[in-house]
Symmetry: none
Subunit: 235 residues, 2 copies
DNA sequence: CTCCGCTGATCCAATTATGATCCATTATCG
DNA sequence: CGATAATGGATCATAATTGGATCAGCGGAG
């Protein structure tokens, strides 16, 4: 089983291929007017059958993002990149238009201090919930599942700070974090080794909270987030 | 929130799973029209049998929160998504319901660190805007006018941190200045003596920013906010 | 003990993906 | 020009995926 096979990922299928190609157009891999690789090439690159690949290309063609000519190839429309970026910004602009760098910066501002507060305010139920998130995360079979419980843990920590407004704000941030684009970023950056590091850091954070050690909790969470940021965005 | 608690009482029931999935939809884990993991995936993730999982899904389907198609999968309803996004966008309205104590706590978390960032990122225009706010505030004839320029100054400082997401969040918090209840609280607490103290603190903050002294800026803003909190809420 | 809910297993039906084959059009080169 | 290769277009039988449904068994609550 090739781990890189799209086929055995949860998000496999034609729509996933559409997203990948859209991203390639958006990020400039295939600029305006350039020729895409041949279908028989893309089929191998994305590890899908040619039929599936062709279905994806048809979607992109109907969206006007590419044009196809028999015997010549498929080409990115000149306005496709404009469309793609405009779409991205309209879909995500409101609160969602934040860059991963901005999000991580905000999280680094808020979460460590929230952890410090949580150390003094967390109830037994809060701590227990965190333990459960830890357990679930460590039992997770794949990246999305791990991410799910990872997110829940952070939510639990924020919640333990007993500031409803803070929780609301964090929920808004979390909603951004769950955008597909951001998810892709996370999946790419989460190697098994890094996941092990995260689990260790998580344990340390929760441990500090259980010890009611605010300084330790703040430091541990800050260290964790700095690690996450480095892994996500590079140093 | 209690969903996780329910799970470990050896009674990991269908209702608990419903709550978990509802939360996943609410917090954006499974957002707009996205496809839920397959039943055989969710059954493993939540550690329940497929029958139980399916019972939960049926509840969610009857609530109109998801739709299911044989051979395709289960999808979050756009209606459910609207609810989720509505939650995001009504962040402002929820903030209005937040207590002054919560708001001040959040401001104390965010603003000092934002000031530290602003020290390194503020443009000449940013600093000039702050100076203007200072001048206007000191020339203010009454409390509401002073409050206006006071608020603008804080917005300017946040803006100088050059984090659009942070600015958005702060704008939402700041919107509360228009709320009658909050305004009344401020009017009561703003004596001439305190206003003089604020003006002095403001000057020190801006001065530190102009000196590019992040530590000083953070400390000054923190001191200021602690003072404000004390005046507003009592020690 | 009985009842109810959860489990694990099995089979079914709808949908999608696959792999192979052949066709139509265009590009390349002698 | 003409032959050949390359490329998109199309179809089909088969396999894999996924929700739908049922059933016997098990275990705790009443």
């Amino acid at each position: 089983m090739d781990a890189l096979n799209l086929r055995d990922r949860a998000a496999s299928g034609a729509s996933a291929v559409v997203a990948l190609i859209e991203q390639g157009i958006a990020d400039g891999t295939w600029g305006p007017g350039t020729k895409l690789p041949t279908e028989r090439e893309l089929e191998k690159r994305f590890n899908v059958s040619r039929n599936t690949l062709r279905k994806s290309l048809r979607v992109l063609e109907e969206q006007g993002k590419i044009v196809r000519h028999v015997g010549r190839g498929s080409f990115v429309t000149s306005e496709a990149t404009v469309k793609a970026t405009a779409e991205d910004q309209s879909l995500t602009s409101r609160i969602i238009g934040a860059s991963p760098a901005e999000i991580m910066e905000l999280r680094l501002m808020v979460e460590p201090q929230a952890a410090e507060l949580a150390a003094g305010r967390a109830t037994a139920a809060d701590l227990h919930r965190m333990e459960e998130c830890l357990a679930h995360a460590e039992r997770a079979q794949d990246v999305p599942e791990f991410e799910h419980w990872d997110g829940m843990l952070h939510v639990a920590i924020i919640g333990a700070a007993k500031n409803g407004l803070l929780s609301d704000v964090y929920d808004a941030i979390n909603a951004i974090r769950n955008q597909p684009e951001w998810a892709r970023l996370k999946v790419r950056s989460l190697t098994p080794a890094r996941r092990a590091v995260y689990e260790d850091q998580h344990r340390r954070i929760v441990s500090a909270l259980k010890d009611r050690d605010g300084d330790q909790a703040r430091a541990a969470l800050q260290e964790h987030l700095l690690q996450v940021r480095t892994n996500l965005l590079g140093s």
